[in-house]
């Protein structure tokens, strides 16, 4: 199988941004030493790490001392959320039913009581969050793109901003928040943990003696710099890129919606600019992903048959929409109009072919 000509799965991982590549290559030779050491290579490494932190803070509109680099977005979610729960001695937490599995796994591991708050058919949380010691809400949904109404409510709030960081301004109201560099065009293996100045937070895991008490292990300094460079570039470009991607996604939504018995899900307007999800009745999710791959389009699916767990997407289930025949399309920064046109042309053929096998 050849690589997809059109990679439409940036929500799983965005290709490396040119700014990240440049920063990474430059930092690889300079950022090898231990940033705690007082020798020159150590000072160089420390300088690069501090620059990465400052650039990330500036791009997000936060303070530099609120930024920590973790080993992944998942690690940032686990540390951010569990660190709040520990610091506030929480017994009860409330979260939307459509949080990323990183949040759900952290709460399964945590011994307290977690309440799942339902969402409407667009995937948006319904009503005010219930009374709890800590609240958890994503900035935008990673599978369907719907933006959540994140707001400060007086209770410590953890915001999983992995799906939107860089693409949309960071919503206000968080006590702690998390991002993932490979979702915006930085390298994988870099997460961003934000802990608001003045917020109580205690490391939920064994500590370490690094420069940043919120993290453990030797920092990947070149990757952190590359992540910061990509974030700055994405923020600088986002007005133009978002408008272009938003219009492309509108076209894909229309093309998918024109296929009989196809549910295009997620909010059509208040959404991530680059992402759309739809489900085709009577279609096998694995089959449609493979059929599109054969035609050169790389997409993701939340259907059970494409999941390692063989469970359907908990996001689609919570939205009470079809979980089978599901396709998530997410545009890369350099996705072209021609690629979108080609995808929109191929999609109805693929669905019709698969349905024909079932004599429907």
């Amino acid at each position: 199988m050849t690589n997809p000509a059109a990679y439409l799965d940036s929500a799983s991982s965005e290709p490396l941004h040119p700014a990240a590549r440049e920063a990474l290559l430059a930092a690889l030779d300079q950022g090898y030493a231990d940033p705690r050491r007082l020798h020159r290579p150590g000072r160089n490494a420390r300088l690069i790490l501090d620059n990465a932190r400052a650039a990330t803070a500036e791009a997000l509109g936060v303070r530099a001392d609120e930024v920590s680099f973790t080993s992944s977005g998942t690690d940032a979610v686990h540390r951010g959320l569990l660190g709040l729960l520990r610091a506030y001695d929480a017994r009860r937490v409330a979260h939307s039913a459509v949080e990323h599995s990183a949040v759900l796994h952290a709460l399964e591991w945590w011994p307290g009581q977690a309440e799942s708050v339902p969402v409407d058919q667009s995937g948006r949380i319904v009503g005010p969050m219930p009374d709890a010691d800590v609240l958890v809400l994503q900035s935008a949904n990673h599978e369907v793109g719907t933006v959540q109404p994140v707001a400060s409510v007086g209770t410590p709030l953890f915001v999983d901003a992995c799906a939107s960081m860089g693409r949309l301004p960071l919503p206000d109201g968080w006590a702690a928040a998390a991002g993932s560099a490979h979702k915006w065009g930085g390298p994988a293996g870099v997460g961003v943990l934000l802990v608001r100045k003045g917020t109580r937070w205690l490391n939920p895991f064994p500590g370490d003696d690094r420069t940043d008490e919120r993290t453990t292990g030797f920092e990947n300094i070149p990757a952190a710099l590359a992540a910061a460079a990509a974030l700055q570039a994405v923020v600088a470009e986002r007005d133009e890129v978002n408008a272009r991607q938003f219009a492309m996604v509108d076209r894909i939504r229309a093309a998918a919606g024109a296929i009989p018995d196809t549910q295009v899900v997620g909010d059509p307007v208040d959404r991530l600019p680059h992402l759309v999800t739809f489900s085709c009745l009577y279609v096998n999710g694995e089959q449609i992903v493979e059929a599109l791959d054969r035609r050169g389009f790389g997409v993701a699916s939340g259907s059970a048959c494409t999941a390692s767990t063989l469970e359907p997407s908990h996001v689609l289930a919570a939205m009470r929409v079809l979980t089978h025949g599901n396709v998530r399309v997410s545009l890369a920064r350099d996705t072209t109009d021609a690629e979108v046109d080609a995808f929109c042309a191929v999609l109805p053929e693929v669905v019709t072919e698969i349905r024909a096998e079932h004599d429907l």
Binding site: L281, V283, A304, L316, V321, H358, L360
Partner: protein, 78 residues
């Protein structure tokens, strides 16, 4: 256990096969009658109700077959 006019044995079938069977066989019951889908695929629990919303039939609920397999009940409305 609810009374179903027709029961479809979709044990061992993976999505979307139970819903395809449901779509094919709903016309085999009269309007107002209940069709049961016995399916152990985890997606059926979500997709049978979702199909009912799309096709404007009534999702009656879930019970279990004699062997404990999940059984999903659909009332034909049109």
């Amino acid at each position: 256990m609810n009374t179903a006019t027709l029961e479809l044995d979709c044990r061992g079938q993976v999505c979307p096969m139970p819903v395809i069977e449901l779509g094919r066989r709903i016309i085999d019951v009269e309007v107002g009658e209940v069709l049961a889908v016995v399916a152990d695929d985890p997606a059926a629990r979500h997709d049978v109700p979702a199909w009912c919303r799309m096709r404007e039939h009534e999702y009656v609920g879930e019970d279990t077959a004699d062997d404990g397999a999940p059984r999903f009940l659909v009332r034909r409305l049109a």
